[in-house]
């Protein structure tokens, strides 16, 4: 394995390989060709999700997405979320293997667990170091979001 960076999520050490770029919405971006990237969830995202049970793509290959446009959904043991385009661009491939067995996302997040490939400008992507700086801020927001949802549950119960 090539060099990687580590970010501590509480006790959990999330690893980020340096052989690729990262998107602010916690996807990694592996350059495949000129302006073509393969995307998958970073260790940070997978840790928040935990065991993935279900994924669905709303987008077919050969279509265009704008940055942050919803293109599918994911459900895990603990959480659910839409899937949002990491950059603006053209969808080249989606990993249909995940429909049958999404556990790849947990087992091999930086390899077989990839989500989709897009052709587009890399302007919005971050270097591993810049992504780690982004995580410091994001981790605060994540904790507040999760606590916020938990608190709203508690107040509803009372």
């Amino acid at each position: 394995m090539s060099e990687s960076l580590t970010f501590m999520m509480g006790e959990f050490a999330a690893e980020f390989p340096c052989d690729r770029l990262y998107a602010r919405n916690h996807m990694w971006a592996m350059p495949l060709a000129e302006k073509v990237f393969r995307f998958g969830f970073s260790a940070y995202a997978v840790r928040l999700l935990q065991d993935v049970y279900f994924i669905d793509f709303d987008v077919a290959v050969d279509t265009n997405l704008s940055s942050r446009q919803e293109f599918g959904s994911i459900e895990s043991k603990k959480a659910e979320s839409g899937l949002y385009a990491p950059i603006s661009g053209h969808v080249v491939r989606v990993n249909d293997q995940l429909l049958e067995d999404p556990s790849c996302i947990n087992i091999d997040k930086y390899g077989e667990g990839w989500l989709m490939e897009m052709q587009g400008e890399p302007d919005e992507l971050l270097s591993p170091t810049a992504y780690l700086e982004h995580l410091v801020k994001a981790w605060d927001v994540a904790q507040r979001t999760i606590k916020g949802q938990a608190n709203s549950v508690e107040s509803d119960e009372e």
Partner: protein
């Protein structure tokens, strides 16, 4: 020979349909299997385990079997019970919605008075509801959301209550016993062969499945689908949806009643028509917003929603604006031109739709609370 294992339901028997979830959750799979195994031990009860109902196409073997059943049905699925009932109706398996007591705890209102007032409220549009015009058969279909309970005994209790309600709880067919299997003497056990000539069979030809002692299964692997499902007990045939949708999903039948004519024209992920329906009659059972997926208004989600963390744009839109944006996104994806907002949108009616928005998030179940706290522990906050 017993070669025909299609279903020949009578009103003397209950059919339990277990619609398998798409999720790979081991807990969900185990619950489905346990309920199926339990149900066939009950008197006068057969069980059919089927793939996710919503994904089945018109040529489905499963649906063919289900359409041949005329008796009462218990429908178990990982969908909101109202959505599952109307999915089945859309597939031509119709009846009256039976009252269910095993409810999703996340959706039960604490306020009893509130419930009553809703029930007592007189429906001023009763005459316009499609289901009151095109009436369904009288047999009951009891739709149960599998998220209601993870405890098999809760389902057994509910099934027994339903058997009693249907007055078919007398133990005509007993719990599996070897003796009974080898020497079938009662007549209800013959229901599956349809000819009533079981006595003449070589015993080795009779399988447990044909006797209804183990659940029947359909070996079918449908691909995922996405289309709207109409609740005809709410639909007033106003035609807002057919005007709004620019993808040709909707049509009308010979009686000029709205229907989802070309479901596979629907744009995957797009719930826009459901937002413009003035009666909240259009459901997308797989949509992540509970109100669009067929939950009662104000129902909460069940899991932590990470969408904001994973890049969901911050939006503060009313449902009409959301619908217009979603439709435009789909038009562009389809290589067509976006349209000006008012096209096909009746803004006055649409504006009544304020209840369906993305803001119906806060969860409020014991289960949800437990898992949230697990999550907090796990994250060591």
């Amino acid at each position: 020979m017993v070669t025909d294992n299609s279903l020949h339901g009578s009103t003397q028997e209950l059919l339990v349909i277990v619609s398998q979830g798409q999720s790979r959750s081991p807990e969900k799979r185990a619950l489905e299997e346990s309920i199926a195994a339990m149900s066939v031990t009950l008197p006068n009860t057969s069980c059919l385990v089927v793939p996710h109902l919503y994904d089945l196409g018109n040529d489905s073997l499963t649906l063919e079997k289900l359409r041949s059943w005329s008796g009462p049905i218990v429908l178990l699925s990982w969908l909101f019970d109202r959505a599952a009932f109307w999915v089945l109706d859309r597939h031509g398996v119709r009846g009256q919605s039976g009252e269910v007591q095993l409810l999703n705890p996340d959706l039960v209102s604490d306020d009893e008075d509130d419930d009553e007032s809703v029930e007592d409220r007189i429906d001023e549009k009763a005459d316009e509801r499609v289901a009151n015009i095109a009436t369904r058969p009288s047999r009951s279909i009891y739709s149960i959301d599998l998220r209601s309970s993870m405890v098999v005994a809760d389902y057994e209790q509910e099934f027994r209550r339903i058997l009693s309600l249907e007055q078919i709880d007398a133990p005509k067919r007993d719990v599996l016993s070897l003796d009974r299997f080898l020497n079938p003497t009662n007549t209800t056990a013959l229901a599956r062969d349809g000819s009533g000539t079981l006595e003449t069979l070589n015993k080795s030809d009779v399988t447990l499945t044909q006797l209804g002692i183990v659940p029947l299964r359909v070996d079918e692997h449908p691909t995922r689908r996405w289309y709207p499902v109409i609740d005809y007990s709410r639909c007033t045939n106003c035609m807002e949806c057919i005007d709004f949708c620019l993808f040709g999903v909707y049509g009308v039948d010979r009686a000029e009643t709205i229907l989802v004519e070309q479901p596979d024209n629907c744009r995957k992920g797009c719930p826009a028509c459901s937002r413009v329906c003035p009666e909240n009659a259009i459901m997308f059972p797989q949509h992540k917003t509970p109100a669009i997926a067929g939950a009662p208004i104000d129902a909460g989600g069940f899991k932590i929603d990470l969408s904001k963390l994973f890049g969901a744009p911050d939006r503060d839109e009313d449902p009409v604006a959301a619908a217009a944006r979603e439709r435009n996104e789909q038009l562009i994806l389809a290589g067509r031109a976006a349209v000006e907002m008012p096209t096909g949108v009746a803004t006055s009616k649409g504006a009544q739709q304020a209840d369906i928005s993305e803001s119906t998030v806060p969860a409020k179940a014991r289960d949800a609370l437990d898992s949230l706290i697990d999550e907090l522990d796990a994250l060591d906050l």
